[in-house]
Symmetry: none
DNA sequence: CCATAACCGAGACGGTACGTCGGGTCTTATC
DNA sequence: GATAAGACCCGACGTACCGTCTCGGTTATGG
């Protein structure tokens, strides 16, 4: 909940209080750099310079660029992925998968998420940061709406994997994400199985 | 198959021919380093030193550690993922997914694949290297065996995604891969849908 | 005098001030390396390692090994070449030339000077560093003492060349420097011409 | 006379004889490179490529760029510095010094000589190559013509140093060589002393 | 007339230094 | 005590040249 790493952090000791202005500048700089130069070319040094901030100030609150980035975009996750409910379950699921695809391939926050996911494959620290996957919550919300009409839907973890896994893995691995027709077919097949 | 990058390279011009010995030493060094220090800590310098080879010799044939690693492990993919056919479609599919899970979480080549997949999320060059995903071919081979008994199975691309996607995404994203029970349930549901 | 390149450098802005300790260590390392391995085998990398200093720290203040070396030994020039005056002009001149010969062939600073002079022949940047030749000042000081007794001595530049040139060129070009007898004869002839 | 290093070398065993064409190409390439990029930027590799020659072919006959360069320009020395005799000793000496100055500052061979002289200050091998200084012979020839009219002229070695040293050292050290007026004055003073 | 031997081009090879960059840590003066 | 600036040590980056080595191919002499 709340914060991942550097979070809000209101301390009450003596001394100069943390500059909220700095925090914002750094997060914005990280966001901007991600879209401008990509994750690989992002550096802590670059973030600091871009933010007009001392290098130590970044390190004081975050350890790695992954942490900065995660905090920079985690807030956008929920709002980008909340899709209005639709009475027809198929349309409901399809709407979510469409939004998800768009999010992962176009939205800066989605691109950041993919970058972090990538980093997590060879950096346990980043993997730990992502331990409560930010995609899970919105996905479960959608599935909860459909569950009453799909009695065979398995328990949450597998259902999420079956629902979102094909889309996500295609974005991560494939040359192109699943298109609208494929998504529609995927949802249809899923409901077939979950209703039986 | 053939070669991804530095590949076999039979040149017929003048000059000293490429040392096959070097190539092997470098690939082995890369493999060893991956399991010993992890992908993030691997460096071109380290590979060269470990292989007892000049740094330039590595750069001459590969541009990045990703290319070295890919060539180092791509040969292991097919053999690790070929699973003996089983008369029962459900068992056939389950056997493959089990092998795949093991491959991705334990086998050095599988770990290398995950690392490369991760790198591909923020490095377009690596993404290009993986454009013909080495997982696709073995997966299609399994599906082809099952297709006669599953008339509703969609065209290849989506079928692969539905079959393997949940497993793969769970490995990449989740805290733990899908367990045996979940795999069995996944296959059952899939066959339900594909048979209808 | 002041500084040639990296010099004293008193800055008053923010940021960590330059470490005088580092500066000294680097200059000493350069000096040591010169006598131990010779100028040709000196490298910036070697200087840094010898001084126990990061490579960047050397490059931050000096661009080339020539600059380091010049600053390392320029301070020794004046003191090594100041010779006590002698009432007899011939003895005065002779004393200086003897000291100069010894300096150029034995003293570390003198050897450094020759190395730099050599480098200056094919590197304009080094030539620029030596533009106010450190030998000129002490030489003029000696000539100034003798000038009242040598009315025909030409203006400074030529006088210096006539006085010191034969000695210097012999050190640079010849198999061996001019010996004591030759020096004495040189001074005698010079005074003959300058008194006329 | 004879050869410095790679020389003419006519061997009489079996096997393909040395290609004179190659030798010429290499020497020309060295000469060209000297004037185009300077001594410091010359490399054995560059010479070979410029000459359209295998690298080994250069190394087979010369060990260092200094050797190549020396052989490339040593032939030009004598011819460039032979000055027609003049009945007036002063004019005779002056003519030589003028030619010498021009040679050292403008002629490619002279520039090569300075570069080699520079290298000799920190490379004993190059110093050995220059042990019979190519400037000495032509200088002695001039002095020999004047000696009958200058009875006080000292033995050869010192005389050469006194005569040429001021000019040479000024070229090597000073910001600019001695000008015509200074040369004239130098010769006059020298003859004053040598005639006494 | 063919074998031997040395030459030549090309270019891969193990090294080492280059000069730069980023990672983290530290030490200032300032706020 | 937080901040901006920036020096510091460290180590990897990718490149260049070193000098050596192996190729295929060429050109002489000598059996």
């Amino acid at each position: 909940v709340s914060c991942y790493c550097g979070g809000v952090h209101t301390r009450n000791g003596p001394g100069r209080p943390r500059s909220e202005r700095c925090r914002q500048d750094i997060l914005e700089a990280a966001d901007d750099l991600l879209v401008e130069v990509g994750y690989a070319a992002m550096t802590m040094k670059g973030i600091a310079e871009r933010a007009g901030v001392g290098r130590q100030t970044v390190y004081r609150w975050w350890s790695t660029k992954a942490e900065v980035l995660l905090e920079a975009c985690v807030e956008d996750f929920a709002e980008e992925l909340t899709v209005e409910a639709h009475p027809d379950p198929a349309e409901d699921l399809l709407g979510y998968l469409t939004a998800l695809t768009r999010f992962l391939t176009e939205d800066p926050a989605g691109i950041a998420y993919r970058a972090l996911l990538g980093e997590a494959q060879h950096d346990p620290a980043v993997r730990a940061l992502l331990h409560d996957d930010p995609l899970t919550a919105p996905t479960r919300a959608v599935l909860a709406r459909v569950r009453p009409r799909a009695p065979a839907m398995p328990e949450n973890s597998l259902a999420v994997a079956q629902f979102v896994g094909p889309v996500l893995s295609q974005v991560l691995v494939g040359p192109a994400p699943l298109g609208p027709a494929a998504l529609r077919r995927h949802v249809a097949l899923l409901l077939t199985a979950w209703r039986a």
